[in-house]
């Protein structure tokens, strides 16, 4: 991972002192709530239903054991002994006291972390492929580029009062595991015919009330020009994005209203003025950032001998291995996912004890590094194959070995009405109902992405779930709208509405019906989306609504 130098450390320390001063002035009545609001949001602090919520950045989803232990400490010291991992690879604490937040930020700064721009109308945490650097299909490791963009966007003087929030994701592989098509800007690493590194730039994607798939703004921007090109996009958005209606203020609406061509012309004209200037990235600058990332010392003599023995002797281990681990680019290593979707647990939640265990296991088996995924799970990405069995045994002891990655019980879910002041409906209890129903059959059913949001703001990404669930309010009652066929991988697609909203008590049965239609109709080895595409929505509609 990227290691801070004195310069980076000075900046986060100064930010802590700035926020301490601002918080004191707010508590003394010298700043109004309206004036304090953007200041606290740009330090990750929301005011929620029960208490403030603090969102802490995990830049592009990589953290160290030391940092994970600090999360555990924060949750013990200032919160209710747990944290919640989000779909943008960050962590949220749901119960901190406002007056404690400067101290929490100081604790975070001591381990090279911060909450800068984790909320507010500014450029948010840069996210990327959770398997960056370890997947076999990678063109280039995107993380150094994420760091370059993180630095450029951090405390950006011009882009801190944008019309609305702004999210950037980067993918370094042909297979998109970073949901780049549903970000304000999605960057895909590419090489041109001469072998030069660069980016395809997508713009105007997003979920929320108006889900839109991003479009290609430029098929190739040289790596040296990527910051000036981003600055041109942001400047056009900052100047011309709508500010009269917060639901129409994202860049996707600007692009849709003026058209991609006009938007491109404006960006190109602005870029023409600044291209080749002070934001140009020299190759030695890029190299310098790459060198600030620690190099992992893989053992090239690792074998699969011990693993093979355990796979044939322990069926439960085998089930976890097949569902929760993936091939590594390095022979003798595997990528292991830690599911945070155990039964009786809110998706993405983790206790302080579990955080400390994960930190220990990462240190013992995986270079002291942990990844967060946009599916709200964790990954230890560099496990020697022969260590997998002992890792699994220890994960099992702490309820961290649920073998359900990619299945229907590995759902994405927002905090919903239980915590969020925006929500119309609860999501955690629905998630638990679904988990109970499918716990024993999930792996047999096969991979299905189920995503659920408690309101149309769509934090649970329901629009791109193969099964999407959206909570809506109908005259004070909680109802749920289902969609089928969404996708966030490779070719993103928005799900199609199944029919009218369903009462809370019937949601789990409806999901069961949908799964049964798939099971009854699928050909051998056919995935959920392929069956749906082949037979269409009608059989699902009939089964779900025919029974009501």
């Amino acid at each position: 991972m990227y290691l801070y130098n004195d310069f980076d450390q000075t900046l986060v320390n100064e930010r802590v002192e700035q926020f301490r001063n601002q918080t004191t002035r707010f508590l003394n009545g010298d700043l109004t709530e309206e004036q304090f609001r953007p200041l606290r949001l740009m330090n990750g602090l929301y005011i929620q239903t029960h208490a403030p919520m603090l969102r802490v950045n995990i830049p592009y989803g990589v953290l160290s054991s030391k940092q994970m232990r600090m999360f555990a400490h924060i949750s013990t010291q200032y919160d209710k002994s747990y944290g919640h991992f989000t779909t943008r690879q960050n962590i949220q604490f749901n119960w901190p006291k406002l007056e404690s937040v400067p101290d929490i930020l100081a604790d975070l700064a001591s381990v090279q972390m911060h909450a800068i721009q984790s909320s507010g109308n500014c450029i948010r945490n840069i996210t990327c492929d959770p398997l960056a650097g370890v997947c076999a299909d990678e063109l280039e490791d995107p993380r150094p580029y994420c760091e370059i963009i993180r630095q450029w966007s951090t405390l950006h003087p011009e882009f801190s009062y944008l019309p609305r929030k702004f999210k950037i994701a980067v993918s370094g592989s042909p297979k998109d595991r970073a949901a780049t098509q549903v970000h304000d800007i999605g960057l895909h690493m590419r090489r041109d015919n001469n072998g030069n590194m660069g980016f395809e730039v997508l713009v105007g994607g997003g979920l929320g009330r108006t889900p839109i798939i991003g479009q290609t703004l430029s098929p190739f921007i040289f790596e040296k020009d990527v910051l000036s090109y981003l600055e041109a996009i942001l400047r056009i958005y900052n100047r011309f994005g709508r500010r009269d209606n917060k639901y129409k203020a994202r860049i996707k609406i600007l692009v849709r209203e003026i058209g991609l061509e006009t938007f491109r012309e404006q960006v190109e004209a602005e870029w023409h003025c600044i291209k080749g200037g002070e934001l140009t990235l020299e190759s030695k600058q890029i190299e310098h950032i790459k060198q600030r990332f620690q190099v992992l010392d893989y053992h090239t003599d690792s074998s699969d001998k011990v693993l093979t023995e355990h796979l044939s002797s322990d069926a439960k281990f085998k089930a976890w291995f097949e569902q929760n681990t993936l091939t590594h680019k390095q022979n003798g290593y595997r990528i292991a996912f830690i599911s945070l979707k155990a039964p009786n647990q809110a998706p993405g939640d983790i206790t302080d004890k579990q955080m400390n265990i994960v930190a220990d296991l990462a240190e013992q088996y995986s270079f002291g590094l942990i990844r967060t995924t946009h599916d709200q799970n964790l990954a230890l990405t560099d496990i020697k194959s022969d260590d997998l069995y002992s890792l699994w045994q220890q994960l099992q002891q702490h309820n961290l070995a649920t073998a359900n990655i990619g299945t229907i019980t590995d759902m994405i879910c927002c905090p919903g009405l239980d915590f969020c002041s925006l929500a119309n409906a609860s999501s955690i209890d629905i998630a638990q109902g679904i988990t109970q129903r499918f716990t024993n059959t999930a792996t047999e059913i096969g991979d299905i992405s189920l995503k659920m949001s408690g309101c149309m703001n769509g934090c649970g990404h329901h629009s791109i779930g193969e099964i999407g669930i959206l909570g809506v309010d109908k005259k004070g009652e909680q109802w749920y709208q289902l969609t089928l066929g969404g996708s966030d991988s490779h070719q993103s697609k928005l799900g199609d509405r199944l029919g009218k909203a369903i009462a809370k008590a019937d949601v789990v049965d409806a999901i069961d019906n949908i799964v049964n239609v798939y099971k009854d109709n699928r050909h051998d080895g056919e995935v959920f989306s392929a069956t749906l595409k082949r037979i269409g929505l009608d059989p699902y509609k009939e089964r779900v609504y025919g029974s009501h």
Partner: protein, 147 residues
């Protein structure tokens, strides 16, 4: 009102827009007034200041930009970030060398960002706000973006 220029509290040599107080040899005009009375204003030989709203289209006066000594950008709401891009465009893209002043809803906590996009003068409501602004301007020594 208190004016900070180049990180110091200082007096204002320009006419006061609120009190309509005049200042010898200097005049401040709106964009419309400039377009209407351009020739007359140039002939007057006075030093010229221009007021702009943050969302104003600037293409019409860009070729005249060198004729102004002062450009005032009115920030209608502190949450409206358009003034930042406007100042940056004037200062860095079009190389405006005169004073760029922020007036309106200018908060001390925004001063550092404002001065980093090209504003060299900030109008604050009173001396207390101006003193606080001077403190916030000194709050950071490390920046990721080039200056």
């Amino acid at each position: 009102m208190a004016l900070i220029k180049n990180k110091q509290i200082c007096s204002d040599g320009w006419p006061n827009l609120k009190t309509s107080a005049t200042s010898a040899g200097r005049v401040i005009v709106s964009h419309d007034e400039w377009l209407k009375n351009k020739d007359e204003l140039i002939l007057s030989g006075k030093r010229l200041g221009l007021t702009l709203e943050a969302d104003e289209k600037i293409d019409e006066f860009l070729h005249d930009i060198g004729k102004f000594s002062l450009i005032i950008i009115n920030i209608a709401s502190f949450a409206d970030g358009r003034a930042y891009s406007l100042a940056k465009t004037l200062r860095f893209t079009h190389q405006f060398k005169g004073e760029i002043r922020a007036i309106g809803d200018v908060l001390p906590d925004q001063a550092l960002y404002l001065t980093r996009v090209g504003f060299d003068a900030l109008q604050l409501p009173d001396n207390k706000a101006a003193e606080l602004t001077l403190q916030t301007l000194a709050g950071f020594s490390a920046f990721y973006q080039p200056n």
